[in-house]
């Protein structure tokens, strides 16, 4: 069992949990993920590591409420226990001094990209970050990402905060601009990563994406997370989660992410029923 040390509601449906997991904290690196199972009947889901503190023995994850498991997780708070917290899994993001890197983030990707931006900056890169959200009320970690970067561009889809744009627009401007961008790292919803990769492709700037297919064990055993990269089948859990975004078969990934949509509805309903039954009359 693993204890939740802290819960922060970053925006209404995105939460940060700091979990007590000293052995994981000792080994965690930017870009790796952990597998969570909430309780004995729970499923195993991957969450990318947002922060860690080896001294304190803690690892932080940020997640959005989407299906039954993330909703169930969101019903917990500081002091509660979760059944399993396995990691650090996957390969860390490749960090070296590339020159200037553009970091593109959306949704929970903002939390995941922040330690990578920090590591990139520490290695000597000039880091320009772009963060996007649908609307002002979904913006979080603006200051965290700003302090991990040399420059931060914030956009919202509806223009309710800062510039009205999709993240791909400032990305394209950067790539067209005078400063040579040596690498792009894009982390967020699959569509955002796909279009970031499509934006940078004509410029030939290598673009790393962190893929988020469905996983079960997360250690290379089941092959549920298989993705096609450059025409080759890879397991995101052990060969990734980072891949060259220009080589990824995005439609395949999107299809495989949708396989259990019907079942997801059923399990959300079952979870809501359980909640209702647990509530005193």
């Amino acid at each position: 069992m693993y204890k939740i040390l802290l819960r922060q509601d970053l925006v209404p449906n995105i939460h940060l949990f700091k979990i007590e997991a000293p052995a994981v904290a000792r080994k965690a690196q930017a870009g790796q993920f952990i597998i969570v199972r909430v309780d004995e009947k729970g499923e195993r889901i991957p969450l990318t590591i947002a922060d860690w503190n080896a001294k304190e023995g803690s690892v932080s994850v940020v997640f959005m409420e989407v299906g039954a498991t993330t909703r169930q997780l969101a019903s917990l708070g500081a002091g509660d226990m979760i059944a399993d917290f396995v990691g650090p899994l996957g390969l860390p993001t490749h960090v070296e001094d590339f020159g200037t890197v553009a970091m593109v983030a959306g949704g929970v990707g903002v939390a995941v990209i922040t330690p990578i931006a920090r590591a990139m900056k520490q290695k000597g890169n000039r880091v320009i970050s772009i963060m996007g959200a649908r609307s002002k009320n979904l913006i979080f970690w603006e200051e965290e990402l700003r302090s991990a970067s040399d420059q931060l561009i914030v956009v919202t889809d509806d223009g309710s905060y800062m510039r009205k744009a999709l993240v791909t627009e400032p990305l394209k401007e950067l790539l067209l601009g005078p400063e040579k961008i040596s690498r792009v790292v894009a982390i967020g919803p699959t569509m955002m990563m796909k279009f970031s990769a499509l934006t940078s492709q004509p410029f030939g700037v290598k673009t790393i994406v962190s893929l988020n297919p469905i996983m079960v064990d997360g250690t290379g055993m089941c092959g549920c997370c298989r993705v096609s990269v450059g025409g080759q089948t890879k397991f995101a859990c052990v060969d990734g989660p980072d891949f060259d975004g220009h080589q990824v078969d995005w439609d395949l990934l999107l299809n495989r992410q949708r396989v259990y949509l019907d079942e997801e509805k059923l399990s959300v309903e079952a979870w809501q029923k359980e909640l209702a039954a647990a509530r005193p009359a």
Binding site: A23, V24, K27, R37, K41, G42, E43, R44, A68, T69, Q72, A83, D84, F85, V86, G87, P88, L89, V216, D217, T219, G220, M221, C222, G223, C224, R226, V227, S228, T233, V238, D251, L252, N255, R256, R258, V259, Y260, E263, E264, L266, S267, E269, A270, W271
Partner: protein, 465 residues
Amino acid sequence: MPKLNLNREPMPRQEPKVRARNFDEVALGYSAEQAMAESSRCIQCPKRPCTGGCPVSVDIPEFIKALRENDMPGAVKALKRKNALPGICGRVCPQESQCEAVCTLQKQHAPVAIGRLERFVADWERSNPESSESPAIEPPSGKNVAVVGSGPSSLTASADLAKMGHKVTIFEALHVPGGVLVYGIPQFRLPKEIVQNEVNYVTSLGVDLKLDSVIGRIETVDELLGNGYNAVFLGTGAGLPMFLGCPGENLGGIYSANEFLTRTNLMKAYLFPKYVTPIKVGKKVAVIGGGNVAMDSARCALRLGAEEVSIIYRRSKTEMPARHEEVENAEEEGILFKFLTNPISFTGNEKGSVKAMECNEMELGEPDASGRRRPVPKKGSEFTMDVDTVVVALGTTPNPLIASTTEGLKTTSHGTLVADEVTGKTVKDRVWAGGDIVTGAATVISAMGAGKRAAASIDAFIRGK
């Protein structure tokens, strides 16, 4: 001399039509009367070929003798002297090619049903826990052994090492101990309560069990060796699934057998949505492969509600590696078999899920490296099968994580670890390995034999013998 009794007691089983729709155990186990009748068939021959046929050298004549003298605690003691996992072995060992194959009564084609008797004794102990005696444990040696993985080889090595007085810690990557016994073999063939019970026996010997611990990530083998462990045993199995590598294989609805069985058994998807992990099984299911894992997958698919389940195998029935008993069980339950058939591609529907599988008919040519006749495609034999779920059960290879994160281990071209055939010693100092990680996917009992031999070798090493 009394006349030989050549009537093997049959194993009572659930009716095929009934069991094909539930996950309860298929084989129901002997009654006390049946166990008595079967055990009295053993002639207690002095040569004891059965013990020699057992990879862990169980004292078979002794446990059978105690059983038929109605000395159940004595039978348990004799059985567990060599085998820490009798409830598991009594269910999943291929006795027909081991102890029973060399039984003196095999000459009359009626070997003693050793496996069924083993299961009876193990089950008796489980329902009479008060009568079980703790085994003798040597005084503490003060030495520590790390065991990586908690499948059959690791559990056996751990039990033996603990009895020898060493402090054993098992590191298991998953949230449940047992390895392939819990994620792979289905509930209806090996109930998970049996596995848990035998794991509990191993921990009762003083073995520590650390779950959720992926060695290679949370700690490396070299770190274990540097952090106070005198020796490391690697029993991480063969967990990496093989795929066909043909077009369309990543469509929705196409599973590796590992994924299909893990969702079903480990995550209990057959109890969805009470258990949150889903599984999708369509009306027409094709399982590719001819081994025990293919049989398990096909039989799970049927129990998950499929209307028609076909095993697709590229050779003929004679070459199928599955146990005869499992093939028979599958046939009785209504699984269809398409022999000499090989998939060449899959096509999907508008949602990206598989809807059809194109296959070749095959014919058998010259024997290949495995000694089996090599299947070759018949020209112009392509045909299409409608399918909505496919399970690829072509076998597994070891997960490369340990080898790639440990200095100085040697692997073969198949990804297996190089280790001494007898002792399991790897080329790396203080590191042993056994089970599927060395042999590639094989049987539970051969993995247990490797665990046992490695434990003896580790004991000799740390005692400086």
